[in-house]
């Protein structure tokens, strides 16, 4: 998020697009619902009529994979009516003319053809959003998990710059991150192209700095993202995977393909807390500790670094992940000698400018610090881009609309989209161990009333969902909350794994799979 969580209630209007907020980020949803009750306007755009729609001033149902068209359509109307922030555009933005030319053709009627959102509704949305003094935009994987993921994200930034909603309290582009430390994992350089704090591995100066810092020579080439490495493993090009605390055998798209890829590896080591679907394929399994068994830090969706204290002892011989890395590094000839996570944090902060001012004492004495926090006196940065963008001028991009990689046809006539439900988390490695949570929610496919009637089925009936990649059988949840021609499957459950069905077509830049749209057929099972 460019903005902080405490500022969520300070907007005049909020736009939620591609986030089932009350299911996936319930505590931020609580703040948004509260603000909406107290007068903030709320716009919700989603293929499902999500719970947040009950609190919305306007809800619009879009076809999956049409975000660029919808956002371009909003910008078309905002520019046409002169609601854009001219001063902000003149002073802080480049690329406006190209954007303006691109959105010219996205008339409400054209957008209606693509997205299914009635022209009149789009006009109401654009007016409410365009005229508001401060608007915040929230999204989650509904924006990013597309072959046009990067285009979608750029479009959200276009809109926020157009309306002058950047660098102020109550505004911002606010991606809601899905895992406790996904922000931190990125910040720490657990990415193939960057060291910590997004320092490029291909930049000679950066490489030089790290070579001195770590006292060794480093690889100058970009590494592979996981989605590409899996494909290469399938082709026999990758030889070994070391997987820590992840379960790609549930979370990867097109699981049959992923399984074949994993089975071709010469060596697979998995470091985890349970015998996951991925661990079952491993040659060696290393037992690690869970969150309350260790001291360390997480960085949340608003870039806030927070400290975890140790509450219980890990079972048996399970060890903290960092301790395992150290033992292994030393087996391979290194002389690592960390005695605590605190020492690791201190080393990391020395090579990570945005974390340089953060330390355990500051975290223990308060409620976390937002990066960038460059010095020990710096209070942290709850809102980014105040006064100027980090890079100078903000860039607007002209983004044409592209259809998803796979859309419904005669054989597979239904849109399939996937996501989370409140009671479970990701591949359910953790939540699936709670009998209570399991009793509250299990596998299902959300089916529209019309499609259920066409199949002659009622609630809880068994339904077979089939795509070009695979097939699952699960229980129907027949509801008016989803439109005719769309089905939704949560991806948590090994009994009915949604990712057997999903398409592994990738965004060309981010290499993110298109989990949110593919074509399926539904049959009574």
């Amino acid at each position: 998020m460019t903005n902080d969580i405490a500022g969520v209630t300070k907007s005049d209007v909020a736009l939620i697009i591609g986030s089932d907020t009350s299911e996936a980020h319930p505590v931020i949803a609580a703040r948004l619902k509260r603000a909406a009750k107290e007068g903030m306007k709320l716009i919700v755009i989603d293929p499902k009529r999500i719970k947040m729609a009950d609190y919305a001033t306007i809800y619009a149902c879009q076809r999956p994979g049409t975000d660029v068209a919808v956002l371009n359509g909003m910008m078309h109307l905002i520019i046409k009516n002169g609601w854009e922030d001219k001063e902000f555009i003149a002073e802080r933005v480049e690329g406006y003319e190209a954007l303006k030319a691109e959105v010219e053709k996205f008339t409400p009627e054209y957008v209606e053809q693509i997205s299914g959102i009635p022209a009149k509704t789009l006009e109401e949305i654009a007016e409410l959003y365009g005229k508001a003094p401060t608007g915040a935009l929230y999204y989650a994987m509904g924006i990013t998990q597309h072959t046009t993921g990067v285009d979608n994200v750029k479009s959200t930034a276009n809109l926020q710059m157009l309306c002058g909603n950047m660098g102020k309290v109550g505004g911002g582009v606010n991606p809601l991150r899905g895992q406790s430390n996904v922000q931190g994992a990125c910040d720490m350089g657990a990415l193939p192209v960057v060291y910590t704090a997004y320092q490029q591995v291909t930049n000679a100066e950066v490489k030089d700095k790290y070579e001195k810092f770590w006292g060794c020579s480093l690889n100058a080439n970009n590494g592979l993202p996981m989605t590409v490495a899996i494909d290469k493993a399938y082709d026999g090009e990758m030889k070994a995977f070391y997987v820590m605390g992840e379960n790609p055998m549930m979370s990867d798209p097109d699981l049959h393909h992923a399984e074949a890829a994993f089975k071709k590896l010469e060596f697979l080591v998995v470091e985890d807390i349970f015998m996951t679907e991925t661990a079952k394929l491993a040659h060696v399994i290393l037992p690690s500790s869970t969150w309350p068994e260790k001291i360390g830090t997480f960085t949340n969706t608003e870039r806030k670094v927070q400290l975890l204290e140790k509450a219980v002892e890990p079972p048996g011989e399970a060890k903290d992940d960092w301790a395992i890395h150290q033992l292994l590094a030393n087996k391979m000839g290194q002389k690592w000698a960390y005695t605590s996570s605190r020492e690791i944090f201190e080393e990391m902060a020395k090579c990570t400018p945005s974390y340089a001012g953060i330390n355990y004492d500051r975290l223990r004495n308060g409620y976390g610090l937002h990066w960038p926090c460059p010095t020990a006196e710096h209070p942290g940065t709850p809102v980014l881009h105040i006064g100027r963008f980090t890079k100078g001028k903000g860039t607007m991009f002209a983004i044409p609309f592209k259809a998803p990689a796979e859309v419904p046809d005669a054989e597979y006539p239904i849109y399939l989209t996937t996501g989370r439900i409140l009671q479970h988390f990701h591949t359910a490695t953790m939540t699936g161990k709670s009998e209570g949570l399991n009793r509250l929610a299990g596998p299902s496919v959300m089916v529209s009333v019309e499609d259920a009637e066409a199949m002659g089925i009622g609630n809880s009936a068994k339904v077979r969902v089939t795509t070009r990649r695979g097939s699952i059988v699960t229980n129907a949840f027949v509801t008016k909350k989803i439109p005719k021609g769309t089905a939704y499957v949560p991806f948590h459950f090994a009994e009915a794994p949604a990712n057997v069905l999903t398409n592994n077509a990738l965004d060309p830049v981010a290499k993110i799979p298109e989990y949110k749209v593919c074509a399926c057929k539904l049959e009574k099972a």
Partner: protein, 352 residues
């Protein structure tokens, strides 16, 4: 500004209520319906005090302080009134503390203790049990409810789930879920905010019943392991058993203001689950696994990685880090891949 409470002067800020000033300075005035998160309710009348120049007793939760105000919380008149209210509340329910999960953090119990009430004066002999145990995680004991309205305000205004309301009227008033459904049949999402804010034993966690008492647990600060919001939590640990018995949201955290969701509050069973991996495992030729020592397992990993690196180069090895482990552990993981294996093939599930 300065005000006087029970003959001593205390610093106060404009806009604060008498109760807020007293709380800030560690002075106890019994109170039940007030909670700083849901604000002034002025319902229970337990917090009455005498204020010089004002007629009758005043509810300290709703009277805003003025410069030079003189307050007495322990005059005979104030204590009698406080005692009467608490006595009546005790009389109108079944406030048995022995097996109550709230024992030790019950604000009604605290008030009764402060006022020296051993037993209620009036006793209704025909009060039938009235528990709703239909919810997966929350036990509702209507006979312990004092109708303070904190859960109603929290559900409507804090977490904004709009499930709990007051139903019926007068002496029959009770909290209802949706339009009078059992809690388990209602649209309640079981975030547990009502449990955390309930001053008595009316709304308690099912999971803590019979577990370590409130005062026996150590409270440890942590951050939720699930989504990216990063709710700050207080883990209540039974040290003797090395076991988590309760998780509360941290009321002072600017991230979540005490709120949690059903996963964060109740979904910690995996930590002490019998299926946890407890020793390194090595795959046998037939596909089964055998236990191994750390030394043996890590020797094997080191040998294999070294062999593959020597034979095929470091870029044929991929490391998948984790969005569920700490920053420190992601740092050591990528450092391992980059400096020991010698590849930038490091990624995690940010896209997945």
């Amino acid at each position: 500004m300065l005000i006087t409470i029970n003959g001593k002067q205390y610093e106060a800020e404009a806009g604060q209520t008498i109760l807020q000033v007293a709380k800030k300075h560690g002075l106890y005035i019994p109170s039940l319906c007030y909670h700083e998160k849901v604000g002034v309710a002025g319902k229970c009348r337990v917090c009455v005090v005498e204020v010089e120049g004002m007629r009758g007793l005043q509810t300290s939760c709703s009277v805003v302080v003025r410069e030079g105000m003189t307050v007495s919380t322990r005059t005979e008149k104030a204590l009698q009134a406080q005692k009467l209210v608490v006595d009546l509340l005790l009389s109108s329910g079944t406030h048995d503390c022995l097996a109550c999960a709230q024992n030790g953090k019950c604000e009604l119990q605290d008030a009764a203790y402060y006022l020296g009430i051993e037993r209620p004066t009036l006793v209704f002999s025909d009060m039938a049990p009235n528990c709703d145990e239909t919810s997966e995680f929350v036990k509702v004991d209507h006979n312990k409810c004092i109708s303070c309205g904190r859960c109603v305000a929290a559900c409507q205004r804090t977490v904004t789930n709009d499930v709990i309301e007051f139903g019926y009227r007068g002496a029959n008033t009770e909290i209802v879920f949706d339009d009078g459904k059992k809690m388990g049949d209602s649209t309640c999402v079981q975030c547990g905010e009502c449990v955390q804010i309930c001053p008595v034993g009316a709304l308690t966690e099912k999971k803590v019943q019979g577990q370590a008492r409130y005062w026996e647990t150590e409270k440890v600060k942590s951050v939720c392991p699930y989504c990216g919001v990063g709710c700050t939590m207080e883990i209540h640990v039974d040290r003797k058993q090395n076991k988590i018995v309760r998780v509360n949201g941290d009321e002072k955290s600017p991230v979540n203001e005490g709120m949690l969701c059903v996963k964060g509050r109740f979904g910690y069973d995996f930590v002490g689950h019998p299926d946890r991996l407890t020793s390194p495992l090595i795959r046998n030729d037939d596909g089964t696994f055998r236990k191994a020592s750390w030394d043996e397992a890590l020797d094997l990993v080191a040998t294999k990685l070294n062999d593959i690196k020597a034979k095929h180069g470091p870029d044929k090895i991929m490391g998948l880090a984790s969005a569920k482990v700490t920053n420190e552990e992601n740092y050591t993981f990528q450092k391992f891949m980059r400096t020991v294996v010698g590849t930038n093939n490091v990624d995690h599930c940010a896209r997945l």
